[in-house]
Symmetry: D2
Subunit: 295 residues, 4 copies
């Protein structure tokens, strides 16, 4: 299929490469020329703007850093809607607030383009391996149409409901993740300072009611999970500042929905403290060190 | 074996019955005569005090509501240590703070009695079915000795380390549980108010990084988990006030250990609010209703 | 002076009346016709749009509910900048985020109009009595020029610094107020439940290091401050939902500034809980009832 | 008058000296011999135990670090009650939890001794200058009797109500203080990072609804209050660990009273974090540096 791919950064780059490998013809655009060049070297065609890229596609996929970028790339003068032929489906894989996602999708709809929000989880590792999870907000027909293409970049393609629900699923899951990680950090720290062996404590939690991904797969206490960031000085993984971004989206959405998220807001503040102490680039599980009593 | 069993309430009663069924000879004591009578009707022998009960046992098991009860039952004039022969092992299955557990165990040790702390999880259902989890703090030799007896009352018998670590494991796990449950409640409420179907959201979380027992086994949102308290008006299960007790133990222990537990403390305050609004006797997952925007 | 006044709601209406009383000639605009009619009855001239009102003024004053309104009223096709003659000073008395205030002021500056942000405190009572406090962000020359006009609507006219600092002062003060009020509520509730007479406790706090406006002037505990909202069932005063709006502005600004405001965020969540329980229209000091143990 | 004074540390030492200066005959006891020697050098008589000191007094005053000390000094074998003649009034100036204060007072009452709790504020500076505030829980007759003696060590002698209310007033005030200080820190940090001059912001707050002792008398932002600890690197003043102790007493008392203190608990956790980062000995207003974004 002829696909327009816009946004070729750490995530978009490997995603686009997997589409090339799968045999699609890509027209690409990115504000960073180096990212474009790398993709052209692999057989993609460069376009001079989002508009020109979109004009070449039977399908448009975007992967951008934040909501203002998405608005400008879709709604701007040289944007996707100005270029895409009517009827061409659009997929935005950026993580943004559900409100903006719905606003852009409504504009696309008016323009005659069905649009899906399809944020991902799985990080750069998942993008490269083609094992991302896609959380998709789209009409059923659109979902069925795009599912096989997404499956060339990921391994779990989940239909979350109508427009915007992909974003909703992503921020709700990540808010819970941010809370659980601090909960695990506090439980592990408390246990260790009260004299239980951390690995034994984790083992008990992992077979009890405290069981969670942050404990059994990604434990923040060094020496508990073999391949977690805690085993390599909190490098790699999912950065504190990325978690902070998602908690910002979640608490903003909660404010608009007039929904109390006391723990989510507290988590946001604690990651903010930790980021301000210089740990924005470390894996988010390093938050355990903000809370740990020095030994 | 001749076992002295002290404390025959909602948990201790069924635990003692399982020991009778397993063929042990029980001498029992409780301050509530009715509880004693019920056990005598099943073949136990009544004693007039903890001291007299302990004097009859080759092993002493206690199941009491709180730390002051444990101290008085063990250290009082008519208490266990005043009656138990030297060398007889003691098991306390109460949930109390690790500091008090260690204090009582040290007094027992001085008196010549090895002592284990062995708090349980699994609730009254687990006590009756004999499927409790025991978290045991004890020397290895003592653990090996008591393991088969505990196995007649439970199905997971976990060795957590030396004295007090059973309590540590219990309060750390339950603090994390209390936090996770609020996290799930906030995520489910937020998702629902932003338009995603709760059951779909839970499905996504349960296969993603937000996955936890509070979401996949005990989801607080009605209609998501078939047999959870949320499916029956938050009756049964683990009461808000019991969660509040455990969070009180955890934050107290954290204070003594000079360990920050910001989320644990916040969870304690939210369950306190909810209890004050009249929900102390409802299952703790009902906290979702404190946080839910009225529809 | 010929003044264009735009936004004639609960606050703007009485402010405009005070300017009429002071002898100014007002051209007014509001989207609610009834508000316009009331002002015309007092001698003002009605304009058909913000643009037309602005075209008639030697000074423009706006009083609007939120940041999107301010952007649209200033920057829209029929907006203030489209109508105001170059050089005419602009004053926005809305409470909005500092970032938006600076964005609009920059656009005004480009258009040749000096602009001040001048949010107020003092409520509708202060607006009617002409005793508002104005917190003004403006260049010194502009501040000196507008000070006498503001003094016809208020009694404290405070220069906070350059553009945007009026908004900064307002949200910082109100965030602290929102926190202090909950702090006082918790202290009063705790004291009362521990057996001290509330009025005596307040007296001690008011002469000690806990002293604050929320305790000595506006105490939330009934029977402590004679004329506070607590003395009249939490009617009148400053509504929970208004406090919630200001805490939303403060936490948003903190997010952009990457500044941790843990207590501010917690306050926001507690007022959100309280609002969801139906108290959005009550004075914000009624938050004491969210936290109070039922007696 | 012949006064027994027990506990001659940083606070008790200067208090006892002021009583000597006022002409009283002191019999003193402390576990640290050096403290006793210093007082003997000034004319006091040393006793070998709390019991022996109490036996010599027509009035007993104690100043001890914590609740276990108070219980042991009053109720122990060599304690005050074992020595004091019946009818002799007892004053405890320690800061402890109200529950323990009432327990000890009840034991004293049974023994025939009226007892007052009279914790102080004002720090070592106030103790030396004789300008302490005493918050007194006592029957009216006892209060009238001890007031003149307390007035020789302090300048504000406040009657808070019956037994225990002195402690209640102290912990409620200090909990509010701990909350307000963080609130001021957050407001000042936020304002500064949004571009308002800190001294101007403080000036506005101090004449507005955010006004409080932490802002107008003890501002944590350097350069705002001339003589506050912030002006001298957070030395002197009231240490982070002392604030932490008082917040621990307040949250414990709240737990027993089943009263939610969400902000008080959060403040406790933040001071705990700050103490763990090494600032336990700094003035508590240094908490601003935990929250401040590095510039």
């Amino acid at each position: 299929m002829k696909i327009a791919f816009i946004g070729l950064g750490n995530m978009g780059g490997p995603m686009a490469r997997n589409l090339l490998k799968a045999g699609h013809a890509l027209t690409v655009f990115d504000v960073v020329q180096r990212n474009v060049d790398a993709m052209v070297a692999l057989g993609a065609v460069a376009a001079g703007s989002a508009k020109h890229a979109a004009a070449e596609g039977e399908l448009v996929i975007t992967m951008l850093p934040s909501s203002p970028h998405v608005k400008s790339v879709y709604l701007g003068e040289d944007g996707v809607l100005a270029g895409a032929r009517s009827g061409i489906p659009l997929i935005d894989s950026s993580t943004i607030d559900p409100h903006s996602a719905r606003e852009v999708a409504a504009a696309a709809h008016t323009h005659g383009n069905p649009m899906a929000d399809a944020p991902v989880s799985g990080g750069t590792g998942g993008a490269e391996a083609g094992t991302l999870t896609f959380m998709v907000g789209a009409d059923p027909a659109l979902f069925e149409f795009i599912r096989p293409i997404l499956a060339q970049m990921g391994k779990n393609i989940v239909h979350c409901g109508g427009t915007g629900t992909g974003q909703v699923a992503k921020i709700c899951n990540n808010m819970l993740l941010g809370i659980s990680m601090i909960g695990v950090a506090e439980a592990m720290n408390l246990g260790a300072s009260l004299g239980i062996e951390p690995k034994i404590l984790a083992g008990i939690i992992n077979t009890s009611s405290g069981r969670c991904w942050s404990s059994d797969t990604y434990n923040p206490y060094p020496g508990v999970t073999d391949n977690a960031p805690a085993a390599r000085g909190y490098t790699g993984g999912f950065g504190t500042d990325l978690m902070l971004k998602d908690l910002g989206l979640a608490t903003d959405a909660a404010k608009q929905a007039k929904q109390s998220v006391a723990m989510g807001a507290m988590a946001q503040q604690l990651y903010q403290l930790w980021s301000a102490q210089g740990a924005g680039g470390q894996d988010f599980s390093s938050i355990i060190n903000l809370l740990k009593k020095p030994s």
